[in-house]
């Protein structure tokens, strides 16, 4: 989500008008992007359930509307759509945990924080 926001800023800076959809407004508003709609859907199904073409279209049309209507940067809109399953029953985790999540389980929280902060400071790694 953060990388997507950072990439969006770079494309906009290069002269391409951009709009994104974000499931984590708290993060997107920290990154600051030109235009974004926010939606309370799970990772991996940010536009709706499989086969729900009407719902997927609706979100894309909301994006189109904000792209055309926004008059300046940090243009955000919270979408009203509610996910049909309760959060505890909603699947979004990969079947095999991501490498960083496996690492987090093995290390103490302060060690993980140090590693992650190191990675952020070390953003220039090729």
């Amino acid at each position: 989500m953060r990388s997507g926001g950072l990439l969006q800023r770079e494309l906009e800076r290069a002269g391409i008008p951009t709009i994104s959809v974000s499931t984590v407004p708290e993060l997107t508003e920290r990154v600051c992007v030109p235009r974004a709609v926010f939606i309370q859907y799970p990772f991996g199904r940010i536009l709706g359930e499989a086969g729900d073409r009407g719902g997927q279209r609706r979100v894309c049309l909301d994006m189109a509307e904000l792209l055309e209507g926004a008059e300046g940067p940090n243009a955000y809109r919270h979408l009203p759509y509610a996910w049909p399953e309760p959060p505890e029953k909603t699947r979004w985790h990969p079947k095999v945990p991501a490498p960083i999540h496996l690492l987090r389980k093995k290390l103490k929280p302060e060690e993980v924080a140090r590693l992650t902060q190191g990675a952020l400071r070390d953003g220039e790694r090729e």
Partner: protein
């Protein structure tokens, strides 16, 4: 029918709250801005995913290195032709359940939605080239300094008027 008035970004993953709230706040006064210069119905648009999508037969994102070095993510991108179908691509991001995208890519990669928008005149045209990165990139400088300029150059070359981004 339940209505969301303000999106709670931690609804599905409350454990990430502390990590997200610890991130640096950018200065909103410095957010870049490029105005849309014509009605969307006349615009050529492209799509950008962060789901680690690549054409079958193309080079995969580098997950071997991510497994060896979990605070590193592949900062490169892949181009996907608009003609590539649902089953012509891999959906490979390690941090989400991509099985839903294998059922229906439009859950996060709405190529079929935008092809319909083109037929209906909602947009002018969907560009020939669409794009994906793999969104876990703690080492984001190469993404911003090398990958983004390449993507923007290709978009300009194809006359793209606007980009829709779909971070998963």
């Amino acid at each position: 029918m339940e209505v969301v008035t303000r999106v709670d970004g931690f609804c599905f993953h409350p454990a990430s709250r502390e990590r997200v709230l610890a991130m640096r706040q950018s200065d909103p006064a410095k957010t870049p801005w490029a105005p849309l210069r014509k009605p969307l119905a006349e615009c050529k648009v492209t799509l950008v995913s962060t789901a680690g999508i690549y054409l079958k037969g193309d080079t995969s994102f580098d997950y071997e290195r991510e497994r060896r070095e979990p605070t590193w993510g592949d900062p490169t991108h892949r181009e996907i032709p608009r003609t590539a179908g649902q089953d012509d691509c891999e959906y490979s991001h390690l941090h989400i359940d991509t099985s839903f995208m294998y059922q229906d890519r439009n859950v996060a990669w709405p190529v079929d939605v935008f092809l319909a928008f083109e037929r209906e005149g909602v947009i002018g045209r969907l560009a020939d080239t669409l794009y994906s990165i793999m969104g876990y990139v703690p080492n984001f400088h190469p993404l911003l300094k090398k990958t983004a300029p390449k993507m923007a150059a290709k978009m300009r070359e194809e006359g793209v008027d606007a980009a829709f981004l779909f971070p998963v």
